[in-house]
């Protein structure tokens, strides 16, 4: 079973502070993704990566940076957190050669910015 682990599961941050959300996958997948989910919206793509050292902007990248130091790890960085970034964040991984285009999601990180 594909495994994607996010940490922390819950985080409270102060406005203007730096927040790092971590994601680790043991699937040896090339692709990794960060989404956020807010009430009234579906999941929205923030950043994604096709492999170690690569990051790409998704649909809502403003205010976020991403880092992919290795195949297994993908981080989402909020340099100056704002209350509007309060949300649930999901990390996912996928095999670039999977014709079914299946993504495997972590359990999510609930972030509150006060």
């Amino acid at each position: 079973e594909a495994a994607v682990t996010q940490s922390p599961r819950n985080k409270v941050a102060v406005t203007g502070g730096k927040v790092t959300l971590s994601c680790n996958q043991t699937n040896n997948h090339n692709n990794m993704y960060w989404y956020r989910q807010d009430t009234g919206h579906g999941l929205r793509l923030i950043h994604y990566s096709y492999g170690a050292g690569s990051t790409e902007k998704g649909d809502i990248p403003d205010g976020y940076k991403a880092s992919r130091p290795s195949q297994e790890n993908f981080s989402l960085i909020l340099e100056l957190a704002t209350p509007s970034q309060t949300s649930v964040y999901f990390c996912a991984s996928g095999d670039a050669w999977d014709r079914q285009n299946t993504l495997y999601f972590g359990a999510g990180t609930r972030l509150s910015v006060l």
Binding site: V4, G40, R99, N101, T102, L103, F105, A107
Partner: protein, 111 residues
């Protein structure tokens, strides 16, 4: 990317068959139809994928209209565990294609 339209919510009783529709009028010939579902406090989980006609797996079946503009996810004998948000997504069949999730269909299941 083709836009999809789903009903915002549906209700069913345990044991019923549930059919969730999805309209994708601008689907391209290169695009496939994917269904995911998300139960509370978890990330979305893949259910089924199809291109045309009829696809079935151990969880659900997927019917796609002849013009591919409409698909229907069928869940036989729903239980309380099937209460979730169901997402219909249309994109290419490569791992290099991004999945864009809309608001989905909230399925409520009553005993």
């Amino acid at each position: 990317l083709a836009k999809t339209t789903q009903p915002p919510s549906m209700e069913a009783y345990e044991g019923q068959e549930v059919n969730v529709s999805c309209s994708h009028t601008n689907i391209a010939t290169s695009e496939y139809i994917y269904w995911y579902r998300q139960v509370p406090h978890q990330g979305p989980q893949f259910i089924i994928q199809g291109y045309k006609d009829y696809v079935v797996n151990e969880v659900a079946s997927l019917f796609i209209s002849a013009d591919r503009k409409l698909s229907t996810l069928s869940l036989p004998w729903v239980s309380l565990r099937d209460a979730a948000v169901y997402y219909c997504i249309v994109t290419g069949d490569s791992g290099y294609n991004k999945l864009t999730f809309g608001k989905g269909t909230v399925l409520l299941v009553s005993p």
